[in-house]
């Protein structure tokens, strides 16, 4: 067995010199070309904006998943709605159901990604806030004098309108502000570092090392 081992070692040492150099050079060049970009994996994210859900599919190299089929399922796997994303890979739709929503995007050629939007992320909160504000406003209106009622009513309407407009405006602004954050987050979640690549290579060598160990024990 010892003889076999040394023979093997000799083979590796002698024969792989040029090939190894070639592979090292290739790997270095490839790593220099793009250290952060990884394969064409489809990702998606979705979030609630007012009473609408905004979904976007994109590939890890930044390309948008345009003309992709976006499908929404409820927790019991019933299809709620389906649509085609626009040229920016985006698809916006009204909230179809107050429950957890599973959103999938299929970009063809076997690319599919999904995103789970939890019930508590849906706009229930905003709705309840809206009704509360209206209720308090009308309560205060009731408390007011009859003489003043005309004036109050109109002002209250304008306040409500203002509130509404402001709310949508704020929501839109917040939505816009967190959009890059959401994208960054979902990219970070899907992207892996150089350490993972090197770890994977380590796995490969380790597994083949184990295989070699057992093979070499079998042979006399």
């Amino acid at each position: 067995m010892k003889a076999y081992h040394t023979k093997n070692k000799a083979i590796i040492a002698i024969s792989w010199q040029p090939v190894r150099r070639c592979i090292t050079a290739m790997a270095t060049i490839l790593l220099l070309v793009s250290p952060t970009a990884f394969a064409h994996k489809l990702n998606m994210f979705a979030y609630v904006e007012g009473n609408k859900i905004f979904a976007e599919g994109y590939f890890t190299d930044g390309k948008k998943a345009k003309n992709s089929t976006i499908t929404v399922f409820d927790p019991d796997n019933n299809q709620l709605l389906q649509g085609i994303s626009d040229k920016d890979g985006q698809f916006t739709f009204a909230i179809p159901k107050q429950s957890d929503l599973r959103i999938t995007v299929n970009a063809g050629m076997g690319h599919q990604a999904e995103y789970l939007l939890l019930k508590n992320e849906l706009s229930e909160e905003t709705e309840s806030a809206l009704t509360t504000s209206i209720a308090t406003a009308s309560k205060s209106a009731n408390a007011n004098d009859n003489s003043d009622i005309q004036h109050t009513k109109s002002s209250q309407v304008t306040t409500n309108l203002d509130n509404d407009a402001m709310r949508t405006e704020i929501e839109r602004a917040v939505g816009k502000a967190i959009k890059p954050l959401m994208r960054e987050l979902s990219t970070m979640r899907s992207e892996k570092s150089l350490a993972d690549i090197i770890g994977g290579i380590g796995f490969i060598f380790g597994l083949f090392g184990v295989a070699m160990y057992f093979k070499s024990r079998q042979q006399p």
């Binding site: 093997n8 070309v33 793009s34 394969a39 994996k41 190299d61 994977g200 290579i201 060598f205 083949f208």
Partner: protein, 224 residues
């Protein structure tokens, strides 16, 4: 070129696993102790290749290198690609756990087809045949993987001809680049270290060796 989770139906996934286990069991038996270092190096190359992007214009491509694996490892390409895919799935989330079988059949099958094309070079007596057939093998790897991809997507209701065309057209740039890479790698290896390539003929009597080669393509480069 990985199929994601949740697209294919259960029968296709199961068929993929059964096919993968069968082919892997057969090809792993051909794996000799002396091959293992070579197989592990090429597996690492395959594993890394599809993680690295080369920007081309507004888009970017990544190499798959199923063809190179086939050219260098012969039928041992299959277990190599299988291990590469399993690790890509676990570590990087490419494809998915349920589709490991189908993805291995797709890319590993491409590797085996590339090897078949590569072996055809023995029937030609032309200059630079390593480069030419290496290039053809590289393109063949992508081509046949594309066919398997289209075949497995048919079961989801996508129309076969249209999907196949779309897939092949989308992969033409990859096919060309892969052909160049595999062709030049094969030519380089043929010059500096011919026995690193799969299916090289022994230097002894050529006629009998060719006959043995075609009937038994599994025994080629194992130095006994």
């Amino acid at each position: 070129m990985h199929i994601s989770d949740g697209i294919l139906s259960a029968p296709v996934l199961i068929a993929g696993f059964i096919g993968t286990v069968a082919v892997a069991a057969y090809t792993l038996r051909q794996l000799d102790l002396d091959d293992i270092p070579k197989v592990s190096v090429i597996t690492s190359v395959f594993f890394v290749a599809s993680l690295i992007h080369i920007p081309i214009g507004p888009s970017s491509i990544h190499l798959i290198l199923g063809g190179l694996v086939g050219v260098v490892l012969g039928i041992r390409a299959f277990p190599a690609i299988m291990l590469g895919i399993i690790l890509q799935t676990i570590l990087f989330g490419h494809g998915g756990v349920t589709v490991i079988g189908v993805n291995t059949m797709m890319l590993g099958g491409g590797g085996l087809m590339a090897y078949a094309v590569w072996q055809l070079r023995h029937h030609f007596n032309i200059k630079k045949k390593e480069m030419i057939f290496g290039g053809l093998a590289g393109a063949m790897g992508i081509f046949s993987s594309g066919i398997v991809l289209a075949l497995s997507l048919v079961t989801t209701g996508e129309e076969f001809i249209a999907t196949a065309w779309y897939t092949l057209i989308a992969h033409i740039p990859v096919m060309i680049i892969e052909a160049l890479v595999v062709g030049s790698c094969a030519a380089f290896l043929a010059k500096v270290k011919p026995d690193a390539l799969a299916g090289q003929l022994p230097l002894a009597p050529a006629v009998t060796a060719t006959a043995a080669e075609t009937t038994k393509p599994s025994n080629e480069d194992s130095p006994k």
